[in-house]
Symmetry: C2
Subunit: 204 residues, 2 copies
């Protein structure tokens, strides 16, 4: 019930509360803020939202978001095309790219295998990955999936699937190191992280 | 710099990061989420934003947001029109109204006196408040301002200003009780809150 009859504000609040990490109270605060602001803000935001899906599409090669197809990363001759980094989501491409640590190409799976959520290998861009490895002559596949149960399961599945599918094609598969985060504290490391950081210890 | 050339996404992220409590990382996460969603979400959100300022206006009496003027609260004959609750912002009306604790009318000041931010009494709806008290025969004015320096300063100013301005008009001015929040812990109460809860102690 809304004794003040603020239906437009309530509809906006309901829409905003569908965003991840935005609860009902935060959504209401944001809606009031937008109302308090100059109407030009709402107008510009509306225009950007309207044009968003038309401007940004999926790259037909890597599956990342792009405004031109193939995306600037895939079509950059300065990158090492023998390196392919597999990520879960399109935004992971940006996160890794901004770290300036990696100069190869990417492949977006579009999710992780999660049987409880009904997501199987068929829902991910795995066949396309196998095709790309052969077509583009990839030498090393770097799995940059989150170190979670789903990420590890998907990594294992990819390893077995590609070994069978590629049938002798020379491909090295690696995954990102897992261990203590820089600046972290042993005291706050969970048992699994600690176990991995021991098993992956590095010679000095 | 944006090596992926995602200009539309960057513009949306920049706009979202102007919202209160939304940093650059959260804004980016929200923008990617909107992109991941069905385009209908962005379209509906854009439509609501476009129509917002046209649908929602200020009530000419209390200054609260409304879709009809005067607002449903001001024009409700079932409310006690001799009680007037003074709040800082329009959203405070809703917060108080939803508590179902208060059945009088409201007056939105539109801010608090804050000399350091250059906000003086002239920037607030104070003259209109004095007019309403006389015109509407208000008997009790309840100050429901945040218990902060700015809230207290504004409350003191209103008290002095109205005493002089109303010149003998019988008006009781009260403010909301300040003290320990229900469910709170003495250990975490600051000195000022504790001091107020002592001074305002209640006989059992």
């Amino acid at each position: 019930m809304n004794p003040q009859g603020l239906n437009a504000l309530d509809r906006l609040t309901a829409l905003l509360s569908k965003l991840p990490g935005i609860g009902k109270k935060t959504a209401s605060r944001l809606a009031y803020h937008i109302l308090d602001e100059d109407p030009s803000y709402a107008r510009i935001l509306a225009a950007e939202l309207t044009g968003l899906h038309e401007a940004v599409r999926r790259c037909s090669r890597c599956g990342s978001y792009t405004e031109s197809d193939p995306c600037p990363v895939c079509s950059d001759p300065g990158r090492d095309h023998s390196l392919l980094c597999v990520v879960e989501r399109a935004q992971d491409v940006r996160i890794i790219d901004e770290s300036r640590e990696y100069q190869g190409l990417f492949h977006v799976l579009g999710g992780l295998i999660a049987p409880l959520e009904g997501i199987g290998p068929g829902d991910l861009s795995i066949n396309r990955l196998a095709e790309r490895i052969c077509e583009e002559g990839v030498k090393e596949l770097i799995l940059a999936l989150n170190p979670t149960i789903e990420g590890d399961t998907t990594g294992l599945y990819l390893q077995r699937f590609l070994k069978e599918k590629l049938n002798g094609f020379p491909l090295e598969i690696t995954r990102l190191a897992s261990g203590l985060p820089v600046g972290g504290d042993l005291e706050y490391a969970d048992r699994l992280t600690l176990s991995r950081s021991f098993r992956g210890r590095v010679k000095l």
